[in-house]
Symmetry: C2
Subunit: 357 residues, 2 copies
């Protein structure tokens, strides 16, 4: 990674010494940024995903505008089921929609194996282009949905409150659920491997809906396939991050999946989780995203709480506990990045010393 | 409580010996029941709440139809803000709506103190009537929303995903939030006291949205007011149950609020929680509500897991980990009740012996 001018993020993922805590923000390439909205005026969401020049442009914006320590490729987790043959729409008022959800064996049979180099070439091109345009300023993160999270969207067909259809599948036809999850795990592993091959310095798996399962169902229907994905990713030293929202009950199991970093939502106590699994993995998170509605003093107070909760030493990547909200003032996001850069130096003084001598 | 023919629920709340685990189901008087839907055809939701005869009728249905060990008065948590002067609508496709939400000092000033005997007479009449019609078959539960959960609806004005407005209030005008929460705590305590006075044998506080707060915000904006409510309820031996969804981080604190029973959602491990706080309180829960989409064998398997997880001895009230879903087959709910009645005897053999001799 010697070509990177700022490799703080990668060092923290590997728990190597850092001078300060690196920060990036989930959904940092998004609607809260005026620069993003300007691009979005010219093209709809799916077109932006599918046009490498536009995707690369908005990927780099938060590095320029708010000063984060890593870029994450602009895309959507649902490009994978789309590549597997599912028609996919993004409806402004409703969010993502699959007009023909997977409800039975026949629906599932239509899902094809993917070849990322062909079926998701546009994402890989965006990765290469963003990597080139970043020119080593910060690392680039690739991402995918976890098999379970992809399955929920594919079966529900749209956003859901109770996840009735996918839970019915899980309880009444678990074999079918397992077959699709296995297929998704293979696809996700191939996809993330291809992103690393195209230049991603790290990858994150979003298990956004892991938390709607009971602990034993989580283990059977989500954790197992996250583990499979991680074991099949082709990588050198690129870290794998798993963000599993609401999965307070299985952090120890998550730390044994082969992941290098576990992302935490804002209901977790970072210090306590560090005591439990910090010996095995680095931790990412976990400021309540709504704290960015507050004034700068409150943002500083809460950011310092997060930094202090993790405490001294490396292995912490600052982030929100979920994606940044679209109605946040971008100046607040900028202020947060600056605050973390300033305030986190104190917890790394010994690391800095170790490095200096 | 000698007038009750079945007081298993109350004994379990007090951790007294029982012959089997009692069961009731959150939202048991609801749309999954054909008998309920018949009543609902004649009157809209708010009219049903406001008509003691109808409210009492649907309150008793689950006792007759599915055989639960407790009735819970049919009502809505939002009758309290309505009684405080807020216009309240129930829109079929959108859920509850307050057309004039509380967003500033002036809005808040319009909230009046309530006198339950006048402002919520229709609920108290429904309680008395249901109590009379139950004729001692099972205990009757009264309920209210927690101050925090009521505040979220009053500030958001409708269901919310990110709770942006109430979080903005909490971070930018915490004094206002505290003032309204305090007023709500007083109102809720009076209301629950009046329900007990009208005949409720126990009360439950629903903190449905406690889990959207970080642990420290939960303590400041929800827990504090739950504690205040409980300390101000006028009661004799009537147990208080607190159900706080998603609050995995503060179970120990919840067990110190003065509550007799803590309700758990389905992401918690009942056995582990018992180890932590079972010495102080009884526990209620926590089957994943979507398990009722499964076949009877799977329902039995999962119900037995919940019973075994709590283990031997009293202090467990079986329930779902959240409300029953409206599209569940009522025969499944009936089957669950039967299963719990049969399968839980094994964990109470020693209790039964103690009682017999």
């Amino acid at each position: 990674m010697s070509e990177l001018k700022n490799d703080l993020f990668l060092r923290a993922c590997r728990k190597e010494p850092v001078e300060r805590t690196p920060i990036w923000i989930m959904r940092q390439a998004g609607r809260y940024l005026s620069e993003y909205k300007k691009v979005r005026e010219k093209a709809d969401f799916i077109t932006m995903c599918q046009t490498p020049e536009l995707a690369a442009e908005v990927t780099i914006q938060p590095v320029d505008v708010i000063g984060v320590d890593a870029a994450i490729i602009f895309s959507d987790i649902l490009v994978v089921p789309q590549a597997m043959g599912m028609e996919f729409q993004m409806i402004e008022s409703k969010g993502p929609v699959f007009p023909h959800p997977i409800r039975n064996e026949e629906d599932a049979r239509n899902l094809k194996d993917i070849d990322p180099a062909k079926d998701l070439k546009y994402v890989l091109d965006a990765v290469s282009l963003a990597k080139k345009e970043l020119d080593g300023r910060v690392p680039l993160i690739g991402f995918a949905g976890s098999p379970w999270t992809l399955l929920t969207y594919m079966v529900e067909g749209k956003g859901s409150k109770n996840f009735s259809y996918v839970k019915k599948m899980v309880y009444n036809n678990p074999q079918l659920a397992h077959r699709v999850l296995d297929k998704l795990a293979v696809a996700v592993a191939k996809y993330l491997s291809a992103k690393i091959d195209a230049g991603a310095n790290a990858v994150q798996i979003f298990d956004t809906w892991g938390g709607v399962l009971s602990p034993s169902d989580f283990e059977e229907f989500s954790l197992r396939y996250i583990t499979k994905v991680i074991s099949e990713i082709k990588r050198n030293r690129e870290p794998v991050i798993v963000f599993s929202k609401g999965v307070h009950h299985s952090l120890d199991k998550l730390s044994n999946t082969g992941a290098d970093v576990i992302g935490l939502d804002w209901t977790m106590d970072l210090g306590e989780v560090r005591k439990k699994i910090g010996g095995k993995v680095a931790l990412q998170g976990n400021l309540d995203p709504t704290v960015l509605y507050a004034g700068e003093n409150k943002i500083r107070e809460e950011a310092v709480k997060v930094i202090s909760s993790y405490g001294e030493g490396s292995g912490h990547i600052f982030n929100l506990g979920h994606g940044i909200l679209p109605d946040v003032d971008q100046e607040k996001a900028k202020a947060l990045v600056q605050i973390v850069k300033e305030e986190s130096k104190a917890v790394h003084r010994r690391d800095a010393k170790t490095q200096r001598f």
